[in-house]
Structure formats: C-alpha cells, structure tokens
C-alpha cells in the first residue's frame, strides 16, 4: 500500500507521517512529468494508492489512470491557512480509507461482433445504415423502407419533395450491402457493448416475386385508410422493396391475390423467430403520432374534414381536397396536462409547412393558423415571416371547440392578442398533433426509461463521457422529435460513434463501478429501480453490469443488507474516513464531486472554519445514512451533504434520493436535529454559498 504526499512546490507543509503497512513517499511536484514518472515507477497495476496534495479537481487531470484516493491538503488545508493538525487528520483519513479499499478491477469487454443493428428505417435509420454499410443490419416493422418520411409529401422548410432525400438514401443503402429485414420486430435484447444477443421475429408471409401487374390490387377486398389515404391490404410499395406488398395487420388471408398472381405470394401471418448477434444497436424507431381522438372538443374522428397534419398533407398532395378556407391548429395534444405535457418540438414547423403547402398550391385559399406560442428557431424564422407575408392569418389562441355548422366546420377561438372572439368557418381543420415515443421499444431495451416521454440524451447516459461507453444509441426522432436534416445529422454522429467503438478489439474501462456481493444479496430489489442506467438487472441474482454502471453509488447507499458496494468508495473506506476525520465539534461535509466539491475548492480566498472536514463522494446519493449517523455519534456538530441542483444531478436523481433520506432522518423526531443535518444544492461556482452554509452550521 502506498501513499504519495506532495508539497506542491513547498506550498503545503507536509507533516511527518508514518503508518504501519503503508509505504509513504514525499515529492514536491507530483504533477510534473518527473512526479508522474515517480508514481509510475512505484505503482503496480491496479494497486490502490493515495495521493495527498492538491484538489482532485486539479489532480485528476494527471492521475486518473492510477484511480487513487485523493486527499486534498492544499485547497482544504494550506491554502486556507489551516494547521498541521487538520492536514494530518486528512492524510490519516486517506490512509484509513486506503486500507479499507480494494483494487479497482479493470474491465475488459471483448468486441465479439462488429455488426450494428439498426432498428427502424426512417431517414435516421437509413442514414446510419448508409454510413455503416456492410456491417449494418437494418430492420423495419413495416414491409417497406422509409419510415415517416415515406408517408410525407414534402419536407420542410423548403418544401422539397421527400423523394429528394429518400431515394438516394435507399439506393445507397440497398446497393451498399446493408442487410435489410422488412416486416421484422424485436422480441428481446440482452448483452453488453460488443456482444448483444437480439431475438427477432420476421413475418413468414410475403410477396416473393412480383411482376407489378397490379391484378392483386383489383381483387383484394380489404380497404384500409392509411393516414387519410385509402388503399388495399395489398398495395404498391411507396419505396423499397418495389412492387406490391402486403399489410398483414389488415389482410384477411382470403387468398384472392394468390389466385390471380402470375408471380408468387405467401399468405401467412405467423412469425419466424431467430437470434442475431451484434456489437451495437442504433434505435431509430422514430415517433408515433398522438391520436387526437381524445381531444373530443376538436371533433377528430367524429366530424368530417378534421385531419391530422399527415392526413391533410397526403390528401392535399393527391388532390383529394381543395379547401377554400383552412384552419390549422397548433399544440393539438401537446403542452396539455391531460395528454402530452411537453412540447413536441417540431409541430410548429409542421403546421407552418402545411400552411405553405396550401399557399403553394392554392394561393387564394384562406389560411388561419391558431397557436399558443410559435416555436421556430434559428433561420427557420424566415418561414414564419414568409407565411405572414403570404397572408396567413395568425391567431394567438387555442380553439375552444370545433363544431359542425351549415355543412362546414366552425372553429371557435379567442385571439388573445386582440381579445376578439372569432368563429371561423372552415372547409378543413388541420390538427398539428404532437408526437409520442414508441414506448414498446423502451420496454425491450436493457436500460431504464421509465417514463412516457422521449429519451432525451441527458435522461440516461448517452451524453455521459465519464463512464463506460454505451453501445445502444438513439438516433433521430426516437430520441426527440426532429426535423429531417437534424435526424440525418444525429444518425451520422451515432453511426460514427458506434463504428469507432466497435473497431477496437476490446472495450476497456477502469473507472469504479458498483459490485453486488451475490452471497449477501437477498434479492430485495430495492436498488434496481434506483439505477438510472439499468445497470442492475435481476435474473437469478441481482447483478451490476460493469459495462453499463456509471459509478454513482446510489445503489450502495440504498442496499439495506450491505450487499452492494462501489469500488474505491466502499462503505468501509468511507466509514474509516469518517472515523478519522470526526471529532467533537467537527462539521462533516460530504460533497458531490461534480458541484459542491469544486465549489468548496474555490472557497479558500474567502476562508471557512477549520472544523470543516470534507469527504468527496461521486454523488450526494452515495451518502449512506450510516455515515451521517456515525459522524454524529463521534461528536460532529453538524453534517452537510452538498449536491447538484435538482434536475442537474450528474446521475439524474441521486440528489433527490438523498434528499428523501435526509427528510426521513429529520423525521426521526428529536434525534436528528434538522438544523445540524442539512442537504444543500451548491453549484460548481458557488463557493460563497458553501461558506455561508458551513458558517451557519458552525453556529447551529
């Protein structure tokens, strides 16, 4: 066991330090090339060491690969003018911690497959497949490629026909050797980066050989309305594969098409299930349209000529409607507590696009656009301006109701800007509906996405850069509703990221992760739902997947039987640190490494009491109440937990979990004094707040 003490160019008065079983080394600049060499020469792979010197916020830049226990005797000691005694205590706490810790295991995951599974063949999936090429396996639930874009008429904002984007993409995907599997769904996904086993099922029935004679179309008895457009259960492919395709969700297997077909059709609704091996997954399942039937005051599904934007666009393109007066309603279902309590992001642009499509085709048509707020960003503002110039009437209000009147529709709305009540007669009402995620796929992924919303990158780990690399990535509108250009850019980023990751022979990571002692775990499962990454899975045993765990330690603080631990932040180590730091009157501060700890680092110009003793934790959620009570038992005057602000937790909700623990501790009425146990949100630059809080605690 080795302890390295650094005097930071003689700015830290190092005490004489001896400890049984620990080799102590002194240096005056461990961060210099010579200093790093000094450690390297003495460091055995994976051996736990302690470095006492500057703050880890500085030190991590140089020493990360050693994964040391950092003891900050500069920002928390000499810079504050605090004496040798405190510095001694700090070093002792580090050594006690070191003795109780185990080496961090190096994690190596072999890349067993370099294939990348792409789920969904909308523009995002296609673009990812195009770039990945032969390594890509592209699956699609529908019988043809193209996703939502294949259903559209034009793309906004320029109004380019969808073929401009879709056709070249499809051509390159098909000719580029991508394995394409239509009519295929995911059954289950298991595994880890570099090694996923995916069960798929593929429809047995299909059109095997098609001459595109169209005779099947004439005999098919099943009529379907597909986003406003009538078609048969057998229909002409709008993209690829070409020829006629069967929609098995509506086909009644009557066999008429088989009778007339000069080629070959297999009518079979059942599935063929098989397993596939891949190294990474791109989820490009796009979005689902919110069903506005629920908005009964708008009459969709009940009144003729009330359309969703997609239905309207398709009917307009095919010349099925030529309205003289159209009302476009924004936020149909979005920003509505009853349905989607979020902004769907792109529907404002869709509404504007529909207005543009109408004006392009029928300049005389009168268009009203009803909105709560127009949300377009950047240069797209020009579209909004152009539409104002084209005479679209913008009404600042959401309609109260849509009712039939005199064979037309009547939209009742107050324009909030002029306080005028309008009753607008219309031939067509277009609901710019919001979007909902394809929740079905969330449930199949081995990650925690426990909500009804889109998995924004920061909701789990895609954006994290400090943990193990992730190999299930969301692209395009599966992540959040996105425009076509944005989807393509997003897909590119994800394709390149995965291609690069899987080009390595193995994925290595040596950051601390949680470990579940299977011998001790009682399968109580309390930890599982606390993991925002889905690293904890219960099968026979509860396991923490080191390829997924980000190392927050919330599960460790949670585990009621002490079976969970976090490498280098073991309960034993932290307890040892508490024991050597706490004396009568100590203010014990557990500070989150991402916010409160760096804040305290910057507090030395202001200064704070010497009684403050800081323990660095990965997340405030790692602070086990046992540590807090231990501090009080040993005579601490006060205990402070410093974490990130709510919504800003590096690990999503660790701070909130900790707040609940503190609330329950406070509820131990008369035993834990709320004035002496506080949890505070302290931002990275809030040194002054840190000082204020500890000074209050000093007086508590």
């Amino acid at each position: 066991m080795k302890a390295f003490l650094c005097s930071c160019g003689n700015r830290i008065p190092l005490p004489e330090f001896k400890e049984e079983g620990v080799e102590v080394f002194y240096h005056d600049a461990l961060c210099s090339p010579a200093g790093i060499e000094f450690i390297t020469e003495r460091w055995r792979d994976d051996e736990p060491i302690m470095i006492a010197g500057c703050s880890p916020v500085v030190g991590e830049r140089y020493f990360s690969r050693f994964n040391p226990i950092y003891i900050n005797i500069r920002e928390q000691g000499s810079y504050l003018g605090h004496g040798q005694e405190k510095i001694g205590d700090l070093i002792r706490s580090g050594v006690a911690w070191l003795k109780a810790t185990k080496p961090i295991e190096k994690k190596v995951f072999d890349v067993k497959s370099t294939d990348i599974l792409i789920i969904g063949s909308g523009v995002a999936g296609l673009e990812a497949a195009r770039l990945i090429g032969r390594k890509a396996i592209l699956i699609e639930r529908r019988p043809y490629l193209g996703g939502t874009v294949a259903d559209l008429d034009r793309l906004y904002p320029e109004g380019t026909p969808n073929s401009h984007t879709l056709m070249p993409l499809i051509n390159q995907v098909v000719s580029g050797g991508v394995r394409f599997k239509p009519d295929t769904e995911i059954v289950s996904i298991q595994g880890r980066p570099g090694d996923y086993r995916v069960r798929l099922r593929e429809r047995k029935g299909k059109v095997v050989r098609c001459d595109e004679c169209g005779r099947c179309l004439e005999v098919c008895p099943v009529e379907v309305v597909d986003h406003g457009i009538k078609r048969k259960a057998i229909f002409r492919s709008p993209s690829f594969p070409p020829g006629y395709l069967i929609d098995f969700s509506t086909c009644d297997l009557c066999g008429e098409c088989v009778k007339v077909c000069p080629g070959e059709i297999i009518l079979d609704r059942s599935w063929n299930e098989y397993e596939l091996h891949c190294g990474g997954i791109i989820v490009a399942t796009g979005l689902n349209h919110f069903d506005p039937v629920q908005l009964s005051e708008f009459g969709y599904g009940r009144l003729p000529n009330v359309y969703t934007h997609l239905e309207f666009e398709r009917k307009l393109a095919r010349g099925e409607i030529k309205p003289e007066k159209v009302v476009i309603v924004h936020c149909a279902g979005s920003r509505d507590e009853r349905y989607l309590d979020y902004c769907s992001g792109i529907c404002c642009l869709l509404g504007l696009k529909e207005a543009k499509l109408i004006k392009d085709r029928y300049p005389e048509t009168e268009v009203y656009l009803l909105y709560i707020d127009i949300r377009v960003r950047g240069e797209l503002e020009y579209l909004y301006k152009e539409l104002r110039n084209l005479g679209v009437k913008f009404v600042g209000g959401r309609p109260a109701e849509i009712i039939p009147k005199d064979g037309r529709l009547m939209v009742k709305v107050e324009d909030s800007l002029s306080s005028t009540l309008l009753k607008i007669p219309a031939d067509a009402v277009v609901l710019s509906t919001g979007f909902v995620p394809d929740k079905k796929i969330f449930d199949l992924l081995p990650i925690n996405l426990d909500r009804e919303r889109f998995p924004k990158a920061y909701d789990w780990s895609e954006l994290s850069v400090d943990g193990p690399p992730h190999a299930i990535l969301f692209a395009g509108s599966a992540r959040e509703p996105m425009s076509v250009p944005d989807s393509i850019l997003d897909a590119r980023a994800k394709a390149y990221r995965l291609s690069h990751l899987l080009s390595l022979p193995r994925i290595e990571s040596h950051h601390p992760v949680s470990v579940i002692d299977e011998e001790r775990c009682s399968l109580c499962s309390l930890c599982i739902q606390n993991c925002p990454y889905g690293a904890l899975q219960k099968e026979e045993k509860v396991r923490s997947d080191p390829a997924v765990c980000m190392g927050c330690g919330v599960c460790v603080a949670t585990c009621p039987s002490g079976a969970a631990n976090l490498e280098s932040y073991e309960t034993g180590g932290l307890m040892a640190a508490v024991e050597s730091l706490t004396k009568e009157g100590t203010i014990l501060a557990f500070l989150c490494r991402w916010s409160a700890y760096p804040a305290a680092d910057q507090a030395y110009p202001i200064g704070y009491p010497e009684s403050v003793r800081i323990i660095r934790v990965p997340c405030s959620g790692r602070v086990d109440p046992q540590l807090i009570l231990k501090g009080f038992e040993l005579g601490a005057r006060a205990v402070l937990i410093g974490g990130c602000y709510p919504e800003a937790c590096h690990y999503h909700t660790g701070n909130i979990k900790e707040r609940r623990r503190i609330k329950l501790l406070h509820a131990l009425d008369g035993i834990v004094d709320p004035r002496r146990l506080r949890i505070e949100w302290i931002g990275t630059d809030e040194a002054a707040k840190f000082v204020r809080v500890v000074e209050e605690l000093e007086k508590a």
């Binding site: 709560i372 109260a400 909030s416």
Partner: protein
C-alpha cells in the same frame, strides 16, 4: 395578503400559475361571448399580476355562470371555475358582495332554503298529492353561525 398569494393558498387555486394564456377558457365561456368585459383569461392574468383592486372591485367577477366549460378544456389544468369562486369569496371577505348573492345567503341562512316555503305552497303541493315540505331548518342557521357568517333578517 397579496391577491395572488391568497388565491394560491386556497384549494383549487394552486394551479393558477400554470396559465400560459392560450385563451381556451375565454373561447369556451358563454358569458364572454355575450359580454366581452367578462373574460376568464383576462381575470386570471390580472390575478397573476396581482391587481387586487382592479379584480375585486370589478363587476365582472360575479358574472361566472359556473358552467365549468373553461375548466374542462384548460390544457394546463388551471381550475378556472374554482378560481372564480375563490375570487368571489375573497371579495366577500373584503366586504364586497353583490346584492343578489347577499339576498341568497340571507334566505338560505334564515330558512335553510333558497325559496321561502309558505303554507300556501304546501297546500298547493298536497292538492296534487305531493308531500308537504319543511319550512325552516334551524340547523342550517347554526352552520352559518359556526362559520362566522352574519345573516341579516
């Protein structure tokens, strides 16, 4: 206390700050359609801006027909119907009460009924085989007293 704070503190008023002025309520209001001075959206905005005098002393707070159309449709779950009631209650507390409401309160307080039942009414009822009904409910009066509501005879 500020008007906004008082509204927020009462059941049904908590959600007022969610309002983003989409005007669904005012488009739905049958009174607003006839008399534009009564406008739930405006009243809510004025409460949010804490314009106490302007709100409480205005005639229009009494104009709500309690039809509840606004609240049913509000996309933000603002309980407009409850808020209109809260505003009237606050006005009454501040000594401003519409004479019609005052008369109703006095009637119900005295009799326990909105309409006075005379012997004549009961006779009329018995004539068509309907049972007689009670004329006065002293218990109701007691509930008014318990809640500190003064009844004018």
């Amino acid at each position: 206390m500020s008007l906004l704070k008082e509204v927020l503190s009462r059941p049904g008023g908590e959600e007022i700050r969610r309002c983003f002025a989409c005007s669904t309520c005012s488009g739905s209001c049958p009174v607003r359609e006839i008399d534009g001075r009564f406008n739930p959206r405006r009243i809510i905005r004025m409460v949010l801006l804490d314009l106490k005098e302007e709100v409480l002393k205005s005639d229009f707070i009494w104009y709500c027909t309690t039809c509840n159309s606004c609240q049913e449709r509000c996309p933000q779950g603002v309980r407009i119907y409850n808020i209109m009631n809260i505003l009237k209650n606050i006005a009454v507390k501040e000594g401003i009460i519409h004479p019609t409401f005052k008369a109703q309160v006095d009637l119900v307080g005295r009799m326990g009924r909105l309409y006075e039942v005379e012997d004549f009414d009961n006779k009329k009822r018995t004539k068509v085989d309907l049972p007689e009904v009670k004329k006065v409910f002293p218990e109701v009066r007691r509930l008014f007293d318990l809640t500190g509501v003064r009844i004018d005879e």
